[in-house]
Amino acid sequence: MLISHHLRRPARLGRLTGTALACTALLATGCTVYGGSNGTGTGEFPNRPVEFTVPTEPGGSSDLVTRALARSTEEHLDGTTIVVNKPGANGKVAGNSVFRSEPDGHRVAVMPQSLFSIGPLVVDDPEPIELSDMTFIKGLTIEDYVLVVPAGSPHRDLDDLLGQDRLNYGTAGAGTGGQLAQALLFGFTDVPAADIPFDGGGPTMTAVLGGQVDVAALHPAEVMPQIEAGGLRPIIVFSDERLDALPDTPTAVESGYDVVVDQRRFLAAPAGLPDKLVDRLGAAADKATVDNEYETILENNYIRQWNAESAEVESQLSESRQRYATLSRELGVDLGGQS
């Protein structure tokens, strides 16, 4: 080919592109693609690494939990596992990617309950992930919420707090359990309260410590170090029973407000996963969740084990969704969504 300084015939380049693409397509026909977000494979399970998808950025508690789970599952599955982070849309991006793939057991996701139980109350989504899109494998974790005020706050207990003319409450974002729990609590009592959503737990902590907001509901893992150091004071917890870590803090129910909110995570695969594989993965995950490393991470993060079988996960999800929707409707709490 001649080397010219000016391109006289761009058509030649177009043809070259066409040929290149054609060759590419030709070459690749009949090959198996591994990895990526829609890989396939042949043969007995597991014939390639089992992919655990995390719907968050690396580094958070659910990432750590999934990594520990994937590592210990490996031993009980006679195969390798890998962890893929696919953050986005409160878990929907990860869900869409995993639940639209082949139900061959090679792709599973650790999904949050909030996407199904709180999400619909907050955002109108024309194409939500339905429970029927998933095969539930096993319940994994329960994370609770603690209502905290800064140590310097004049409010000693819940009655103090609810007696205010106006409250600003911090949440870790729209669609989080902390937002729902506080909206319901203040909805019960008709306290004029404005929710100030922050971008995750860390910034919310900063805001409540600095007195930018009067009160916030956060996970124990986020607030316990500050409670121990005397920077924050717990008011109530939103679990059904008192927490081991905070035996002196009453639950919302004890205080007379029927608000029980928690965040749960579960392992799920695309709908239509054969029972044999559900059992196989479930059994491996069962063994993995009693692994020492996994338990240590849970303990250090004040996360409780959620030992639920497939059917129980499904009923929990639909029950909590129903309960939250009914409560917010009855209390007239508007979180922004339609349902």
């Binding site: 929907k92 869409n96 729209a174 860390g202 410590l209 930018q212 991470i297």
Partner: protein, 505 residues
């Protein structure tokens, strides 16, 4: 001087030969991974995290801190050589660093960047050791109203950063703000301007915007004139910064240290802004502001000092609040959790050896980085000698693959290609991408901080005047606007001709 004891013991820990070795390995690994476009410090640490599982806790953390610094510098290397910034702070370095590289001063730029990082890190660590308790409270005073005022000031600076047409700069900055508003509403959670796409629901990641507009746009632009390859290879020139270079950068470095230290203390956005603010300060202070964007050494020295000073002083919120100040710190402290340690405000008291071991190893990481980089710079600058026809495609492929790995999504590849086309068109029509990219970073901070403030103030704009820090910053903003307008009017009166000079590239 009792409080110094744990600090010195921390140095003792960090200086143990094994730990030093881990730090060195970390810096090296971090630098090589950080060079890959799309893999910023946080992602590099996350990817390399499993390596540390079997180490003891201190060694693991020291290595991760090394990776952090190495990856930071790795991003600077690609920003300077290829205009591919991996994260926000190197986006600013890309402006003048790349111009210097095109000018045959790649070595100078990389050398100054390494030295500046070292200076910034050193100043911040000394300040951290002595005045951390004093400034810790400052971080808590910075709530939504203060951030609103700070971001507003920042955007104003950004809009005036460009070296071309002022109107075009403002348009570009406004487009950056619009781009930042794509995706989930930061408060309510509704999807906005995402055209129903789940992929856009969380907005466009910064890496894609920066690499698309800067990197891919630049590559496309270069491809157009690739046939003039003969003239395209810049000389390598001096490999190391000269004495004069250092003298010129001295002021920028000292100002950058202060800016970086102060802003780094503010959790959530402070560190991101530090390099931008430093750049704006340098351009205003400079007697030759026209040189900025065309290879002003202060434009590299200031921001690099500031971003490293901020990286160190962002340890302060961690020290006082137990809150990781940025994504990288979050991953490092995630690693602490894996080791069975719960990071929190009591960490400094309970485990001073660990805390100061980490802080000091960051410092040592900085020293190792300088010692390691200076000899390697000679190697790095050779990259610019590779013909554009070969270098551009290879850089592009690695960028595409790197962007894919951020969220494992082909959609992001398309997004970056589209932004690359936009970057190319902007370049052809005289719009600078820099104000757009920088406004994109500030846009999210400004909107959410403003809206949080308004909810706190119950919709009363006057609420800002009740917050002393916010009110002061707003006054400074107004002052800056008035000053700029007056200056423009005076310039107009002085000259009746158009003053814009022709600026190819």
């Amino acid at each position: 001087m009792d409080f110094l004891t744990p600090v010195l013991e921390g140095f003792g820990v960090a200086l143990q030969p094994m730990n030093l070795l881990f730090c060195l390995i970390g810096v090296t690994l971090g630098m090589f991974v950080g060079v890959l476009p799309g893999l910023g410090p946080a992602a590099s640490i996350a990817i390399l995290l499993p390596i540390t599982y079997n180490f003891d806790e201190t060694a693991a953390i020291i290595m991760l801190a090394g990776i952090f610094y190495g990856a930071l510098y790795g991003g600077t290397i690609t920003a300077v050589l290829l205009r591919l910034p991996g994260e926000a702070s190197s986006a600013v370095t890309a402006l003048d660093g790349y111009a210097m590289a095109r000018d045959g001063r790649a070595g100078t730029a990389l050398g100054i960047a390494a030295i500046s990082s070292f200076i910034g890190g050193t100043v911040a660590i000394i300040a951290l050791t002595f005045i951390a308790p004093v400034v810790a409270g400052f971080a808590l005073d910075f709530g939504p109203p203060e951030f609103t005022a700070l971001a507003l000031l920042g955007i104003l600076m950004v809009a005036t950063l460009g070296s071309g047409s002022a109107v075009k700069s403002v348009v570009a900055a406004a487009l950056g703000l619009l781009l930042a508003s794509i995706g989930q509403d930061p408060l309510i959670g509704t999807g906005r301007l995402n055209f129903g796409s789940d992929q856009l629901f969380d907005g466009i990641p910064f890496v894609i915007v920066a690499m698309g507009l800067f990197g891919v746009g630049e590559i496309l632009y270069n491809m157009e004139s690739v046939r003039n390859a003969r003239a395209k290879i810049p000389d390598v020139g001096r490999v190391y910064p000269s004495r004069a270079d250092l003298r010129q950068s001295r002021g920028a470095m000292s100002r950058g240290s202060v800016v970086g230290f102060v802003l780094g203390v503010l959790p959530g956005g402070g560190a991101v802004m530090s390099s931008m603010v430093s750049y704006a300060v340098e351009k205003r202070v400079s007697r030759k502001p026209r040189l900025f964007g065309k290879g002003a050494i202060q434009g590299v020295a200031g921001p690099e000092t500031a971003s490293n000073a901020a990286a160190s002083s962002s340890m302060i919120p961690l020290l006082s609040l137990g809150i990781p100040a940025n994504a990288s710190m979050a991953v490092i402290f995630g690693a602490l959790l894996l080791q069975g340690i719960t990071p929190g405000p009591l960490l400094v008291e309970d485990r001073p050896d660990l805390f100061w071991g980490v802080v000091n190893s960051m410092y040592l990481g900085n020293i190792l980085l300088v010692l390691m980089c200076l000899p390697l710079i000679g190697l790095f600058v050779r990259i610019v000698r590779i013909p554009v026809g070969v270098l551009a495609p290879v850089a592009l492929i690695i960028t595409l693959v790197g962007v894919y790995t951020v969220r494992m999504s082909v959609f992001d590849m398309f997004l970056m290609i589209a932004l690359g086309v936009a970057g190319y068109l902007m370049k052809k029509t005289g719009f600078e991408p820099a104000p757009l990219v920088l406004a994109f970073i500030l846009g999210g901070i400004l909107e959410s901080a403003f809206r949080r403030s308004m909810r706190t103030f119950d919709g009363q704009l006057t609420g800002f005047l009740g917050e002393p820090i916010a009110a002061t910053l707003l006054a400074a903003t107004v002052g800056l606007i008035v000053f700029t307008i007056l200056k423009a009017l005076r310039a107009k009166r002085a000259k009746h001709q158009p003053t814009n000079e022709t600026t190819p590239v």
